[in-house]
Amino acid sequence: MSGHPGTCPVIFDPMTLPADDNVNDYTFCVELKGSQWFLQKGKMIAYYGGIEFNGIGHGPLDHLVQASFHSPLHASDWVVAQGSGKMLLADRAFDVNSFDLDEGNLTIRSGNLLAFQPSLSLKQSIIPGFLTLIGTGKFVAASNGPVVFMEPPIRVDPQALVGWADCPSPCHHYDHGYLRGVWGGLRGLTGIGGASGEEHQFEFVGAGTVLLQSTETLMSEQDRGAVPHEPGVPGGGASHGQQQGATRLPGQLGDLSRRFGL
């Protein structure tokens, strides 16, 4: 770690830079020895040696992409770095950390994933906006503030969720108790009486690890387009499956016909 308050900054050269480890809280160093890494576009800040950056669509990479990249929607955001040397990665001065997966799986918010080894394979989660990594290898993720590891059963705030490993996908959980009845419905509709802002959580059960960031400020991410319009694909074809009209608030009377199953 460099630059404790009051001391002179540490000067790095290719010999003293760590290999596949953090340089400081915000910068990660990857060592390439003729090997390849996938990284999100524009997260490289500097490198020593000879490293080439190529888009996913680059012909000679076909084989590699076929083996470890299964997320066509994100293809335009990812590049492959290959060559030899040391490369520094960082993302908007957010905390970065590397994690090791050993025959495991991890699902992560797509904006938080910075880079991964091709021994892992990247797939798109069926939860929109999330990516799943499967296999063995190292990946680098950014978070707004240090990452906290929790074990299910747990309910987490949607904005604080970074990802989860090994446990089943989460479900939504709503605290409806206080919105019950006529007055509750009125409160839910008008906001009079106040809402705590914590009525909605993600609920995790089963065995695994949940990764949280220590702020509720989300990292911005680009619009990733939509998954193919197919029956049975969640989120597929944006307008599909929402013909039921506006979202119904808890406690709201709702259309009576629906309530009586007509």
């Binding site: 308050p5 900054p9 050269d13 915000y26 524009g42 020593y48 950056f53 888009g55 993302d91």
Partner: protein, 210 residues
């Protein structure tokens, strides 16, 4: 005497000497201090005209007195630089404070400046003494030597010092225009002998998304 109070606040202990600091960056002081606005970056009339012409404006004040003065600017991380006769090249917006004994000036950066979106000129600091530069997130200091040239993303470049040559590398190919670029279309390559300061965050540059 410069020291870091913490990574975002610079403390300067003064005994009758002076420092030049970014205008309005003082957050606290004890003892006796006087603050004087220096017109045109404190480089004299010629420097003032140059700064006007090049757009490399710098609002600087001179702080003089006995005691301790603390400086900070928009919670940016502060990095101390020790100069022993070398020249430090830094964007004026990233320069927080310098010893009054250091000479500041303006220089042409060529294409690198254009690729950074910071204009074609940059500020130089020269002499013996200390300077404080700011970065978005703590900067990493990388040494460049004859056998280890360094390549830097223009958006993450903060400053460099020493005897370095820089060349702009462009990786723009027809694939870039097909939306299949490597994501690092412009890079600055440093060769020679010196230090480069890189921040863990990328400014928006013209080539940012290529």
């Amino acid at each position: 005497m410069f020291r870091l109070q913490d990574s975002k606040v610079l403390a300067v202990d003064m005994t009758g000497d002076a420092v030049k600091a970014k205008n309005g960056s003082m957050v606290a002081y004890d003892g006796q201090m006087t603050f004087k606005k220096l017109t045109g970056g404190g480089d004299g009339i010629r420097g003032m005209v140059t700064r006007r012409l090049t757009g490399e404006r710098m609002a600087v004040m001179e702080v003089k007195g006995h005691g301790t003065c603390w400086f900070a600017d928009r919670a940016a991380e502060i990095n101390l630089v020790q100069l022993q006769g070398e020249k430090l090249y830094v964007e004026s917006s990233n320069l927080l404070a310098t010893d009054a004994g250091l000479r500041t000036g303006t220089t042409f950066t060529g294409l690198r400046g254009a690729s950074q979106g910071n204009g074609l000129f940059t500020t130089t600091v020269e002499g013996h003494g200390q300077a404080a530069i700011m970065s978005d997130g703590r900067a990493v200091v990388l040494r460049v030597s004859a056998q280890y040239p360094l390549t830097v993303d223009p958006g993450a470049y903060v400053a460099h010092q020493g005897n370095l040559r820089q060349t702009l590398q462009s990786g723009v190919t027809f694939r870039t225009f097909m939306g299949e670029g490597g994501g690092e279309a412009f890079q600055i390559r440093f060769e020679g002998d010196g230090l480069v300061y890189v921040q863990p965050s990328e400014r928006d540059t013209i080539a940012g998304d290529l």
